[in-house]
Symmetry: C2
Subunit: 150 residues, 2 copies
């Protein structure tokens, strides 16, 4: 298959996909996020092959998204989100919102999120960090930036 490395494309989406674009990786991240943090727990929860899980975890640790931490004198480890990984979970939260809105069906969303600050069950909302107004696909113009390809 010799999957193309997207990172060569001067695009932050492509670069992000090199970190979390492989199959299973976002789901592994979700598990770690919600507290499923040990190898066998993740394997059982997702039904992923052990080989692929090993590869993905190594890659995420290498990329600084997860941290591998021993929790026993025996060689036992848990995986935890680093700050870099925690910010990556933002992407998952937006995916959850979209999936809830368009794919959940009549059963409704499988999971709800309670916001600590206000105690409400709520979803995320995308806003402009400058003016605070909503900011979506149609609300922006795309301009070349300093790191644009020559």
């Amino acid at each position: 298959m010799q999957r193309t490395q997207f990172g060569e494309i001067a695009c932050s989406i492509a670069r992000t996909l090199d970190v979390v674009g492989e199959p299973w990786t976002p789901l592994i991240l979700r598990d770690v996020w919600v507290g499923i943090s040990r190898f066998d727990q993740i394997q059982a929860d997702l039904g992923i092959s052990r080989k692929v899980l090993t590869e993905r975890l190594h890659h995420l640790v290498e990329q600084g998204v997860l941290e591998r931490r021993p929790y026993d004198s025996r060689p036992r480890h848990e995986y935890h989100l680093t700050p870099k990984g925690a910010e990556l979970v933002d992407v998952l939260m937006v995916m959850v919102r979209w999936g809830d809105a368009w794919l959940a069906g009549e059963a409704g969303p499988p999971v709800l999120y309670r916001h600590h600050a206000c105690g409400e069950v709520a979803r995320v909302d995308l806003r402009c960090e400058s003016c605070g107004e909503p900011m979506h696909a149609d609300d922006v113009d795309v301009l070349p930036g300093p790191g644009a390809a020559a």
Copy 2:
């Protein structure tokens, strides 16, 4: 490879991945978003194989994310985002933010976004739709929802 269908997992992330989780799909979506909307344009821009591009476009149209629209009396088409697709681009915007922050390197972000409402070059910010305060991975508790697995 017989890639696992994630959709059977009761998780909006898994379901979303069934729509945009395959390799190249997010980049195709990005191209359509920024106005690269014809088959050969996308193919040239990404360097993707024509076979895979055909498959991905069909899948996205099937899922209601893209719309295939003729633009000539000859059989010529452009692909455009549907409302469902436009909301999906929100996910890309958050990926861009993360990629810019953690992977762009010294060259800086390759692309900038100007917000129509305020005219500023800005990034997206995740807020609670209920109270308006920032909402990130650590700011929420996860609860089972109505569509949770039995």
